[in-house]
Symmetry: C2
Subunit: 253 residues, 2 copies
């Protein structure tokens, strides 16, 4: 019956203040809202995704669980909002690393990859929430989200742009263009829908290939799936990064 319950989108009945200082009510609301999410993150960090519970959050805040329903429609909605925040945080970390890396695309790629790994290793629980096994509630969210504004798109953009700059400069080696056109190009509509046709297929391939390699290695490290093989996953990571970047800078095949 109630309207959708999220953020400060409640827009007080009368305009109150169109753009200037928010109402006292609004200030309190946003404050409580972020306190809830902070508490949820704390639980996430200490006990994993399943440890996030309305009752625990409320207890920690000196409230009762049903009160949280004034701010989120369900536990899933809360977790979803938290996931959105974390996605933005990670995106910004990566984007900042790129900005701080100077103008060389090779340096930029390395900086972004290291920043991604750094954040992930430092925040394994958060990584699990947004990039691991998606929870049942999150799956629906991902499917319902229209492709154009999917958080993954914004996250991948700086990678994509850098790989493109690299391509313009180096014309690095890729699988044969005919093969890529034939087997891959037909299935890239989703990506085209968000990035347009501005990138050649070589760039698209290099981006997807690189992202999957980065993701695979980092998530194996974060989830301890490398413990049986390597004592310091960072060394393996640097090795792989070297191999990936080398692909772009050595002479073409």
């Amino acid at each position: 019956m109630n309207g959708v319950n999220y953020g400060n989108s409640v827009l007080g009945s009368q305009g109150s203040s169109r753009l200037s200082a928010p109402t006292r009510r609004e200030r309190l609301r946003t404050s409580t809202l972020s306190e809830i999410k902070e508490e949820a993150r704390r639980l996430l960090v200490t006990g994993g995704p399943d440890a996030i519970s309305l009752r625990a959050i409320a207890r920690e805040m000196g409230m009762t669980a049903p009160a949280i329903y004034r701010y989120f429609d369900s536990l899933d909605a809360l977790v979803e909002a938290l996931a959105g925040d974390l996605y933005a945080e990670l995106s910004e970390v990566v984007a900042t690393a790129k900005q701080d890396a100077g103008d060389d695309p090779v340096t930029q790629v390395k900086a972004m990859a290291r920043a991604f790994r750094g954040w992930s290793v430092a925040h394994p629980a958060e990584f699990a929430l947004i990039l691991g096994n998606p929870l049942p509630g999150i799956v629906a969210f991902q499917e319902s989200c229209d492709e154009e504004h999917h958080p993954g798109v914004e996250f991948g953009r700086p990678f994509m742009e850098t790989i493109n700059a690299l391509w313009l400069r180096e014309r690095y080696a890729t699988p044969p263009r005919t093969l890529m056109e034939e087997r891959l190009a037909a299935h890239l509509e989703p990506l085209r829908a968000s990035h347009g046709d501005q990138y050649p297929i070589e760039v698209t391939w290099a981006f997807l290939s690189g992202w999957s390699r980065l993701y695979g290695l980092v998530s194996m490290e974060v989830f301890h799936h490398l413990r049986w093989a390597v004592s310091d996953p960072g060394a393996l990571f640097e090795m792989e990064l070297h191999a990936y970047v080398d692909q772009f800078t050595s002479q073409k095949s």
Copy 2:
């Protein structure tokens, strides 16, 4: 107070039958045991890892929840046993694919990779349980398991052997040996503990690099982390497989 509760390891007080026909009791026990795990898997498939509950299993079996404690010490122990079975199943699928692929290592690598993806895509919930975000109870299991008999070791063995055969034949390109010795070799004790020193560092690198690429791509597909980019992840997979194998067969750098 009770002894550890798993499998048919209860060993009836008196020897009863050392090696021949198992007791009626034992037959019933193993039958119930596997029925519990089957029901658990059914719940896993239909509702994800969190849907596995003792009460639901018991309900479906016409029992009460506490009865299951005669067979498993806890829900975590049950899930852990199920994960072990699934690991074995996946390992066998991959090993069989290799056997059916003839003698050429390149063909073998492709067959194993495709078999791995095939099983994973066909059984996403099972994949999530054994290769995704580890549940809190599973983490302890992985850490307590002595490295030598870690299921991951047996799973990776056919890959490792094939990559080695490929190396003996092709002497494919890798990162410079000096770099690998310097940065990677010092951190491979866990892998050496299980496989011995029989493999040169080039093989180890190619194996770990390939496994992480395979894992990354497949888990992104299984977890729908590629939906925003690619409509048919299989095409991207074949592309990446091509690029990986090509690395081994084209002329050395």
